[in-house]
Symmetry: C2
Subunit: 327 residues, 2 copies
């Protein structure tokens, strides 16, 4: 079994670094978790990753010779061609201008690729998850930040700067609430977690009785989960919050359908757990706002890979880069 | 010279059908014009085109054996892979479900390709005009309709339905004026010719004195050209109309920059003649509304090929299809 080929995917988050061994079918054969705080410098990360890979190889009976490469998704602005981190967010120091791919290659002695975490998840969902089998698939992640990634003609499309797919900052209104980016009217300012909680606080004050009670039971700590619970329990204000969430998301996605006419839009991220609550108004809005032919041809679906999307996507990133070199 | 290779591009409009001979450098060596009314059925069009090609070949000393193919841009919904017209707009009967490419190939005895006129112009501007040398270029045409075409990774991107690039119907506002498509808030409802004239009529009533005088001199027939003349003559209301035009266009294009981070956006169509009047507010808006890195990397430029863009793009369409077959 020593000759078996395997690939490592790494999901570099603000709290944890998840490392997984991925086989050619996109299955995660084994996983390890490192603390981001303990690996908060590039060299500590390279060292910790090297050790984790050794341990995983031992556990799974694999040899380092069979390792095709390691692909890392990290939160921030990254030049994937040069494997260069411009800056990371939620990571101490931000790693400005760190040539991370080269650094990792020296330590791990295998090809390494680095890209923005949302792009990597988009790639994983496209290849092995809810976007599987399509040529053109748009991924959007819903959470504190609202991000996206585009697969076009079977390739991740990054634009000239690597920043393509910023669906969260497409404006859906000439004014609207202020976004974390400083602008007004961004989709994220309508459907990001902060907006959701703000709407819910307002609703709790103005009639959302079940929601208000649930919030009190949680010592005033309102969460998206509580808004979902309240809606499921019949709280009209909470139901309306999710309806409006679906409508606002639908306005942005209708613009994406106008521009790209994709086969599929995959919706992931923590907030996508509320799918049954916002999907009806989302679908209605897209059918109303996009043209009939591209709207009918575009399937809107939930992401499938869950917490492992980043690991799986990391492996796909390695294969994508190797294919590019082979061309 | 009989062996020389040449390609025909056809710009099929509601009034005229322009036929041109295009060489490998994108130069139009000769042109002919047919009346659309006299060639308003597929067979009359095929016959007229065949004769026009013969005459052009005679005039230019070319042989039909050297003809690589003919590429047609027509206004409507077209399945480019099958060369099938779903329907044409502004053409009698609309040619529903006409297999136009096959019909033309039978008559012309050379490969024929058909696509939407805006896509064809986008292709021409990308290959030989203002998008030249880029991998990713977005084209937008400004006029009665506001349309677009996307070149991604050096290929026209049509999406799954052939309808990608509908920039004119991306919404920039939750409400806003009613669009010709029946929806509200579309870019076209803000910057299409009808919106421009409506704004100008309002301005003429509310203080645009130069504009009002010019309009009277033209027997009340207001045109975009007159609004430009009034602005150039210092009419503050007319100046403001173009500033707002640039801002509204900038809001939509900032969304395009967020999503695609293209290298270039090429602005064409009749209304683009007012470029000096709306470009400053357009640029300001994009810099404000898009992120700095992709905004700086995206050059917004005027189209270069003018009235010949459709003919030149038609030839590029032929070459694109032949490359696809060769692959």
């Amino acid at each position: 079994m020593g000759q078996r080929k395997w690939t490592v995917g790494v999901d570099f988050g603000g709290t944890n670094i998840k490392v997984g061994v991925v086989d050619g079918q996109g299955k995660v054969a084994g996983e390890a978790v490192l603390s981001t705080r303990d690996h908060a410098t590039p060299s500590a990360f390279a060292e910790g990753l090297d050790e984790a890979i050794d341990q995983l190889a031992d556990r799974l009976g694999l040899t380092r010779e069979g390792l095709c490469g390691a692909g890392i998704g990290a939160p921030g602005l990254i030049d994937v061609r040069r494997g260069l981190v411009y800056r990371l967010v939620n990571v101490p120091g931000g790693w400005p201008n760190v040539p991370l791919a080269r650094l990792l290659e020296q330590r791990l002695r295998c090809p390494c690729a680095v890209d923005n975490d949302v792009n990597v998840v988009a790639l994983g969902e496209w290849r092995f998850g809810a976007g599987r089998g399509t040529l053109n698939s748009v991924y959007i992640t819903l959470g504190t930040g609202v991000g996206g990634g585009l697969v076009i003609n079977g390739q991740l499309f990054r634009g000239i700067t690597g920043s393509a797919g910023e669906i969260g900052h497409m404006a859906i209104s000439l004014d609207g609430p202020r976004c974390a980016c400083g602008r007004r009217g961004c989709l994220e300012a309508f459907v990001g977690t902060a907006a959701l909680l703000r709407n819910a606080r307002h609703a709790g004050q103005s009639g959302g009785r079940i929601l208000a009670r649930l919030t009190r039971q949680h010592r005033g700590r309102l969460t998206p989960e509580l808004i979902s619970q309240a809606a499921q329990a019949g709280d009209q204000a909470a139901i309306r919050i999710w309806q409006e969430f679906g409508r606002d998301l639908g306005l942005a996605l209708a613009n994406v359908v106008h521009l790209l006419s994709p086969e599929r839009i995959v919706i992931g991220g923590g907030i996508s757990r509320a799918w049954p609550l916002f999907a009806p108004s989302l679908m209605t809005t897209i059918r109303q706002e996009a043209f009939e032919v591209p709207a009918n041809a575009c399937h809107i679906v939930r992401a499938k890979l869950g917490d492992r999307a980043g690991i799986i996507g990391g492996a796909v990133l390695v294969w994508e880069q190797q294919r590019r070199i082979d061309d």
